[in-house]
C-alpha cells in the first residue's frame, strides 16, 4: 500500500469540505501580520467601537524571549 496523497490548489482547498483541508484553511486564518494595540472601528470619521486587542506584533523568537523574560 502507498501513501494516501492529496494535492490541492488554494482555490480547491478553500472550496473543500474534506476535514484535512478544512484544518489547513483554519491554520492559515491565524497566520500573517498580527497586530497589538488599540483598534477603533470608524464610520464617516465617527469612532464607534473600541477594541482593546492584545495580539502580539512579534516574531515567534521574540515572543519566546519576552515570555522567558517575564517568567524571570
Amino acid at each position: 500500500m502507498t501513501l494516501e496523497l492529496q494535492l490541492s490548489s488554494a482555490q480547491e482547498t478553500m472550496a473543500s469540505s474534506d476535514s484535512r483541508l478544512v484544518d489547513v484553511v483554519d491554520g492559515l486564518l491565524h497566520n500573517g501580520v498580527v497586530i497589538r494595540g488599540e483598534l477603533w472601528l470608524t464610520v464617516a470619521d465617527v469612532e464607534l467601537v473600541f477594541l482593546g486587542l492584545d495580539l502580539i506584533l512579534a516574531s515567534p523568537d521574540t515572543m519566546k524571549r519576552e515570555c522567558a523574560n517575564h517568567a524571570e
Partner: protein, 207 residues
C-alpha cells in the same frame, strides 16, 4: 456614506492590483484593501488575499482572522515602515506551500485479547507499527527539505505540518516531486496533503 475599508496587506506602491481593490499610499508602502461589505469574515478576507496572490501581486498579508481598518493599517505602515518594507523585499516573488502528514494509530488485530500476555503483545505490535509509520512519515516529509527555502514546522501526536516559502517559479516542481515520491512511499495508514500556493502567511511577520 462610504464604509471603512479592510486591509488585506501591504505592498509596494507600484504593485498592480485587480480593479476592485483600492490602494492608498503610506510612505514607501502601499496598502491593499477591500470594501468592508465584501470582507466581513475571515474566510472572505482569505479568498481576497488568495485572489490577489494569484493575480501576481507580492504583498505582506494581514492574518485573515483580523479585520484591520485601513486608517489603522496606514498608521502601522508609517510606524513600522522599515521593518515592513524589509520583510516585503524578502518575500518578493515567493509563495507558500503547506504540507501536512498524519498517521493513524494502527490496530493490527481488533479481536479482544483473551489473556494479559496477549493484550500486551497486541499493544506492543501496535506501538511498533505506529512508531514505524511516524518515522516513515517524518522521513518522507524531510525529503522536501531544502536549505534554500525557509520553513515553519509544527508537530502533534500523530501529525506534522510544515509551511515552505519558495520562489513562485519553483512551486510546480515541488508538487511534481511530491507526487513522484508519494508513489514510492512504503507505509500505509498515512495521509499526506500538499496545498497551495498561498500568500506567504506563515512568513509575513516582520518582527
Amino acid at each position: 456614506m462610504p464604509n471603512e475599508r479592510i486591509v488585506l496587506g501591504w505592498a509596494k506602491p507600484e504593485t498592480p492590483v485587480p480593479g476592485l481593490i483600492a490602494k492608498s499610499i503610506a510612505g514607501e508602502l502601499g496598502i491593499v484593501s477591500v470594501d468592508s461589505d465584501l470582507a466581513q469574515d475571515a474566510f472572505s478576507r482569505l479568498q481576497w488575499q488568495v485572489a490577489l496572490y494569484e493575480f501576481g501581486t507580492d504583498f505582506l498579508p494581514v492574518a485573515p482572522i483580523i479585520s484591520l481598518a485601513e486608517s489603522y493599517g496606514e498608521e502601522l505602515a508609517l510606524q513600522h515602515h522599515d521593518a515592513f518594507l524589509s520583510r516585503l523585499k524578502e518575500l518578493e516573488g515567493a509563495g507558500q506551500i503547506s504540507l501536512g502528514i498524519s498517521w493513524k494509530p494502527r490496530r493490527k488485530n481488533d479481536s479482544p485479547a483473551t489473556t494479559g500476555r496477549e493484550w500486551l503483545n497486541k499493544r506492543r505490535q501496535d506501538h511498533v507499527a505506529d512508531k514505524s509509520n511516524a518515522e516513515s512519515s517524518i522521513a518522507f516529509f524531510n525529503e522536501f527539505e531544502n536549505p534554500e527555502f525557509q520553513t515553519r514546522t509544527r508537530q502533534g501526536p500523530h501529525a506534522l505540518h510544515r509551511d515552505i516559502l519558495l520562489p513562485r517559479a519553483k512551486i510546480q516542481r515541488l508538487f511534481s516531486d511530491i507526487s513522484i515520491c508519494a508513489k514510492e512511499f512504503p507505509a500505509d495508514a498515512v495521509s499526506f496533503t500538499a496545498t497551495g500556493p498561498w500568500p506567504p502567511f506563515s512568513f509575513a511577520q516582520p518582527f
